[in-house]
Amino acid sequence: MVDRTQPITRITTFAGWGAIALLLAVSLGSLLAVWLNTDISAGFTPADFRIIRFTLTQAFLSALISVILAIPLARALARYDFRGRQLFITFLGASFILPVIVAVFGILAIWGRSGLFSNILQHPLNIYGLTGVILAHVFFNLPLATRLILQGWLSVPTEHFRLCATLGMTAKDVTKHIERPILHATLPAAFLTIFLLCITSFAVALTLGGGPRATTVELAIYQALRFDFDLPKAALFATFQFMLCTTIALLVLSFSKPTRFSIGLDRPAKRWDGQSRFHKYTDISLLTLAGLFLFLPLAAILIKGIGHLPKLPASVIPASINSLMISLTSATICISLALIIASLIIRLTKNSPRTARAIEGISFLSLVASPFVIGTGLFIMIFPFVSPFKLALPITALVNAIMALPFAIRIILPTMQRAEASYGRLADSLGMSQFARFRLAIWPRLKPSAGFAMGLAAALSMGDLGVITLFASPDNATLPLTMYRLMASYQTDAASAVALLLITISLTLFWIFDKGGRIEHRIR
């Protein structure tokens, strides 16, 4: 193969491999560091097996319920055009960046012991345990499942539905000839993705689960590290989770067909089937119920939060500053890594597609690694040099960046590939240097995706209640941690005010970056 490598290209290639090395060091190296610092112990106890069983059960049920409910919901959104439909779909997307602790608070306000339904029924509901964990997971993943399935639905060209109408097909026929094949293509991947997300879920289990009968593996890792400083147990659980999740992730990859990320979620194709009164009414009631299920908890936060804003404790100011700094640092690291790795993948695709695919796989590693083990590994690695508690915030920022990286790459890579395919040759033939090439030719095409990814990374990090719980001392809490502490000490009113503040900052961060990315980048 001809080597036309220029020196400057070599530098960016080095940066790419450096990013990969960092990723491997942080995700696998940290697990190794934990292992090397433990005596290999006896293995799982019966209590541990109960934890594993609970983890799998809740994840399976959460994924199953989310997907089953998502099918009719997606169909209603696909065939029924109503005012506010676009808003509904945007709202479905927003749940992804909702801070978990805030959502849990909202769910408790509706379904909790003194929540809306308990009041209506005049009977206190108790959702702590399996019910609450599943309820929260469905709250988060029903929108995700709906969007995944809807994407498949909307990829059907209008012509097919016209054909169905011309051929005189009934709603039932359309189900058979079009909808079932779509579901066949989208359901397995959607189910497994949600299953994976629910297995590694932490904050939901921390707040709504707990106790010997409702502990997940991730929560067990946290407890082993935080309360018992039982490194062997943490390492054992982490390895188990790592292997389990890798298996599932590989299954997801083998099931998922390459879909275009931004396939037009705009207008539904005009349909001639399923327009009968019966179908219309079922669609409307479904959409209403789902809307209430998703919207009521948020409305509760808003209503409670506004009333209790004066009760905001003074501690929210330093906590907000901490959170903002973590969030912005983490988003910057995440996007830089994503850009470097995406361009490495593109450069490798031409001559060594297998290496390119392997690197894409590595960039998804953090989906299967436990953030606590990453945090602990980093902790152990830096312990000889400096007190890790002093570095709690930087560590949190780095771990958050790595956890958001898979999403960022998934967003940025396809856009970068399109920009390269359309304008790469032109830039090369004009003799643009590597820097000018990126600044003038690629970046302007990439900016909307980069802004979206950065908003996502910033919001996820802002709302994250993960690694920080492990390292935080009272004086360096983040906003989600402050809120959790208030909830844990039953200061519900103050917590509701913090919830409102937190969700406002998260959504605003996302909005700023996403909007900033969409401002057309024009070179005058």
Binding site: V2, R425, D428, L430, G431, R437, P444
Partner: protein
């Protein structure tokens, strides 16, 4: 500038193309052939976008087989994506002088002159999307004019334009090429384009690029492969007179 294909073999996703001949300086060539035959691939090889399997490409006797695209003395026009949609017409043209857009006052004057040459002076601060298809390609031509390279490669940039507009474009290109004493290579699937502008035509079929032949002579006495491509109706000799 002369282009020599020295026992060149290109392989690309299951097809291959051989070429072994020399293109003379300051002449205009057309590459003609059915779609998928490798016309654009041959052009891409000259510009440096194709890995060369065997053989060499020489420009004025200098081996450029392994030279990166940026270091080749080439101006290139594609069928689309010739302009960056996020840059003004002015900046798109200026890229031909300064790929990093750091312009001096002298550069700016040169850019305006180029725009004047293609009659787009009053479009300078517009964006490509505000221009018609023909105007967009004129912007790309203005950039090529500024680049002032001894090789001008055209990959069907005018295929989407109507006949009159197409001839207008080809005329501007011919003027620029003549003025700069450059060599022109035009890829086209339309025999009329070849007759209109090319001194000699390279015909490609069945994995082989045939050495260039005087365009008129070629169409007056087309070889069998060319007859097959042209089809029965135009099997009789065609010339500029009966276009």
């Amino acid at each position: 500038m002369s282009i020599a294909f020295d026992n060149l073999t290109l392989r690309y996703e299951g097809f291959h193309l051989t070429a072994n001949f020399v293109l003379e300086p300051q002449k205009k060539y057309a590459i003609l052939g059915p779609s998928g035959c490798g016309k654009s691939t041959l052009l891409a090889a000259i510009a440096g976008f194709m890995d060369i399997d065997q053989g060499r490409i020489l420009l004025d006797g200098l081996d450029i087989t392994n030279l990166p695209p940026a270091q080749r003395p080439v101006s290139l026009l594609f069928q689309d994506h010739n302009l960056f949609p996020h840059m003004t017409v002015m900046n798109n043209v200026a890229l031909g002088l300064k790929p990093d857009l750091k312009l001096t006052a002298k550069d700016t004057t040169a850019v305006h002159q180029a725009l004047k040459y293609v009659d787009l002076t009053d479009q300078a601060i517009k964006f490509p999307s505000e221009l018609s298809g023909g105007q967009q390609q004129r912007v790309a031509i203005a950039r090529a004019l500024l680049r002032d390279k001894p090789l001008m490669l055209l990959d069907e940039p005018f295929a989407a334009l109507g006949p009159a507009l197409k001839h207008e474009m080809l005329d501007i290109v011919a003027q620029i090429v003549d003025r700069a004493h450059s060599t022109l290579v035009l890829v086209t699937h339309d025999p009329k384009d070849a007759l209109y502008i090319a001194d000699e035509t390279i015909f490609i079929a069945n994995g082989k690029a045939y050495p260039p032949i005087n365009t008129k002579a070629l169409f007056e006495n087309p070889p069998q492969a060319l007859q097959d491509y042209l089809g029965e109706t135009s099997a009789k000799p065609i010339s500029l007179n009966n276009l």
